[in-house]
Symmetry: C2
């Protein structure tokens, strides 16, 4: 756990914090970290026309397990903009040629245009009206270096912009965006969450689940997740189609 | 027209540009400026739970008058966040004590949390999928200095963030946010628009219109607008309740 110690230690708590909660493995871990730091949590989940509605159910379950103070749902229609396998009618790439040739610098087809910019903008609005100064988001530059809006320089630029955007900023309340997973491997993320009691059986990460919410086991997100649990010598407690069929 | 000449002169056109179009006086002028520069326009209008639905009709009429190439509608529910007279059930301040004592640094009650941050984030997503490099927005620091997200430093910070946020930015297509009205008085804005043929009778600015879309003539937005037309020795062609009753 050496690489994640700094994100787990308790700090002084003051007022609620906003946590972007997708129902995936990463955001569940971030929420557990924030709670362990002594914060009251306001979870913000976004319905955005993604095909995997089971993520929404997962967000509900994770929020409940973490006893959040409030769970706010925002509905936005990214399908309006098209252009992504997660929101448009384009096949999700599976293990094989498309994924196999992806370099770490390439941007995957599952990228949603300006997604984190939009999500963080909603979190900023919510932080302002709830008088919160802290936003937690589960972005990660290790496995997702291909997503520009998961990188540290993007997050710092958003934070600078946010501190010029709101009444709160003008009145001197500095907004901070916390990314405790930024430099962690998927294995380190899971190890951190397990130490904090996260039930990963409640979380969903698959880009292409079936109607029951069972994961495909083959998309990029499933592969990262399965490899990390394997490295820890554990079975992923979330349901997969292969084991069920 | 000396103070607005630089915003009206034609420049070389290349590809479509995104224009945030509310149906108000300012955004109609911005759209006319962008069109006059030779650009193809993609108008982006946002329904956001504001009470003045006549603005939406105005946006439709202005877009049609300007022969935009595409008019995209985004629906977001800012009521989720409460905290503003424009979206929550709080009375709109009228001429008199509340407005009379407002200093130029105070933030009006009509401020919507993180509104321009959210609108620009949508514009950024649309720009990316339409391969546009330019976003036009009618923010103005003269009459609206009380709104932090109408100020130049906010706009520049958003632009810096946006250029780290998207696939397009990573691939080297620089995004620019244009604010041709930033330093213009309301009178100069109207003069600019009239020179470009804007029909201000189609636009709506009132914070508290009636069911027919007739303006109150007394809110801050109406007062700025009426004073500017008066300074030009003109009648505002938009409908007002007083003149109709």
């Amino acid at each position: 756990m050496s690489e994640s110690t700094s994100t787990v230690g308790p700090t002084s708590a003051s007022g609620p914090v906003i946590v972007l909660l997708s129902g995936g493995l990463d955001s569940a871990t971030v929420a557990a970290i924030a709670r362990n730091q002594g914060h009251d949590l306001i979870a913000l989940s976004v319905r955005y026309g993604q095909r995997h509605a089971c993520e929404l159910e997962a967000a509900r379950n994770v929020a409940q397990a973490l006893a959040v103070r409030e769970h706010v749902w925002a509905e936005i229609d990214l399908r309006l903009f098209g252009g992504s396998a997660l929101t448009a009618d384009i096949a999700v790439p599976k293990m094989g040629a498309e994924l196999g040739t992806r370099s770490s610098d390439a941007i995957p087809i599952t990228y949603v245009p300006a997604r984190n910019t939009i999500f963080l903008s909603y979190a900023l609005a919510l932080a302002e009206v709830r008088e919160a100064s802290d936003i937690y988001i589960g972005v990660n530059a290790v496995d997702y270096s291909g997503y520009p809006d998961c990188r540290p320089d993007f997050i710092r630029a958003f934070e600078r912009m946010a501190n010029l955007a709101t009444r709160a900023a003008v009145e001197g309340r500095t907004l901070r965006i916390h990314t405790p997973l930024m430099d962690l491997s998927k294995t380190a993320i899971i190890r951190t969450g397990l130490a904090l009691g996260v039930d990963y059986g409640l979380t969903r990460s698959c880009y292409d689940p079936d109607d029951r919410g069972f994961a495909c086991g083959r998309c990029e997100s499933c592969r990262f997740r399965l490899a990390a649990f394997a490295e820890l010598g554990m079975n992923d407690p979330a349901p997969y189609r292969e084991s069920a069929e």
